[in-house]
């Protein structure tokens, strides 16, 4: 298994321009790609058997002031997952849709837009709400969003005479 995965990585490496590759488990490996190469890479991966887009999600790397978009593809024949990672700028985050490669990405892109504010050019419906039926603040999964403040402002709290807190690991 390891062998075939190495072969695949080698094969991918030959064709695509990969900045970094990383083996995570014996069925899973990750590759980092420049944001410009994503579409070409996904199309290639789809053509060699990674036909299922398992998820498209995002990580807020606030320290570097950038977002990392993550595409996880699945190869049903070999039982392999490839994690395709790419970096986009955090200010005015925008990317191009992949619905022409994986039509199902429509809803993942909506979710990413809803929770991180990334816009997807070419996907007409990316700005429609998906999970949050109504939202009036900065996207909630960004690291600079404070849920406590939001919750306090939105949802009334019970007035209790005394608030008990549990002690975890000796720290108050």
């Amino acid at each position: 298994m390891m062998n075939s995965m190495n072969n695949i990585i080698k094969q991918i490496d030959d064709v695509l321009t990969i900045t970094n590759s990383e083996i995570i488990t014996n069925r899973q490996f990750a590759i980092d790609i420049n944001s410009g190469d994503v579409h070409q890479s996904l199309a290639y991966l789809k053509s060699i058997g990674f036909t299922q887009l398992s998820i498209l999600t995002c990580i807020d790397l606030i320290a570097n002031n950038e977002f990392q978009l993550i595409y996880i593809l699945n190869n049903w024949e070999l039982g392999l997952f490839v994690i395709v990672r790419t970096i986009i700028p955090r200010d005015n985050p925008a990317f191009v849709t992949i619905i022409n490669i994986f039509p199902g990405a429509k809803y993942y892109e909506r979710e990413v837009h809803e929770f991180f504010g990334v816009t997807f050019e070419g996907n007409d419906s990316y700005s429609k709400p998906l999970l949050l039926e109504i939202w009036d603040d900065i996207p909630p999964l960004r690291k600079d969003f404070d849920p406590q403040v939001y919750s306090d402002s939105k949802f009334p709290k019970r007035d209790l005479d005394k608030i008990y807190r549990s002690k975890i690991g000796g720290v108050d």
Binding site: P140, S151, F155
Partner: protein, 183 residues
């Protein structure tokens, strides 16, 4: 909810309350982790049918709405919708700390903290989650309350409808959700 002692019911209402108390049909709103506590309560170990209680399929038929855990704002809209579809007299029993003060989700951007601001809760069951014994105990209490005419949450809701509505609006906002898959 404070147990008010207002017994100005007439005879028919007392008889009616007797029937209501001895035949409670539940509709449980399975949010969070509380729902899993109900099957043991229903089945042979605890057998809630002894009390004349039983599960019902729709809110139209049910007397009591069980909220079995935390409520996100999205879910709360539907809980209110379900509650308003029930016929009076109707009661609400809320399970666990999440419904009381938000529980471990006290600071979530999507989870409400205090249920009785939005709908009238007749009975809270403490715990995270309450065990079947607790639930059975609560139901026994509920039956007593109904018999005494003290489970008046639905009446309270009718009387203070504006207040409840305002709270709901403040937290949830008016929103029309369209089912985009069928349009």
């Amino acid at each position: 909810m404070v147990l008010e002692n207002q017994d100005n019911r007439n005879l028919w209402e007392k008889i009616g309350d007797f029937f209501s108390a001895n035949s409670i049909w539940m509709k449980w709103y399975c949010t969070g982790c509380g729902a899993i506590e109900l099957p043991p309560t229903m089945t042979s170990r605890f057998d809630m049918e002894r009390l004349g209680m039983g599960p019902m399929a729709t809110p139209r038929q049910a007397d009591v709405l069980l909220i079995t855990g935390y409520l996100s704002s999205k879910t709360l809209r539907r809980v209110i919708y379900s509650y308003e579809q029930m016929q009076d007299p109707k009661y609400i029993v809320a399970f666990g700390s999440c419904t009381i003060n938000g529980g471990i989700y006290y600071d979530s951007y999507a989870t409400i903290n205090q249920l009785d601001k939005y709908i009238p809760v007749d009975l809270y069951i403490a715990g995270c989650m309450p065990r079947p014994e607790g639930i059975m105990n609560a139901f026994a209490d509920l039956i007593t309350m109904i018999k005494k005419g003290q489970a008046n949450g639905w009446r309270h809701y009718q009387e203070n409808y504006e207040w409840y509505k305002q709270n709901q609006l403040d937290s949830l906002k008016e929103v029309i959700i369209h089912d985009e898959f069928h349009e």
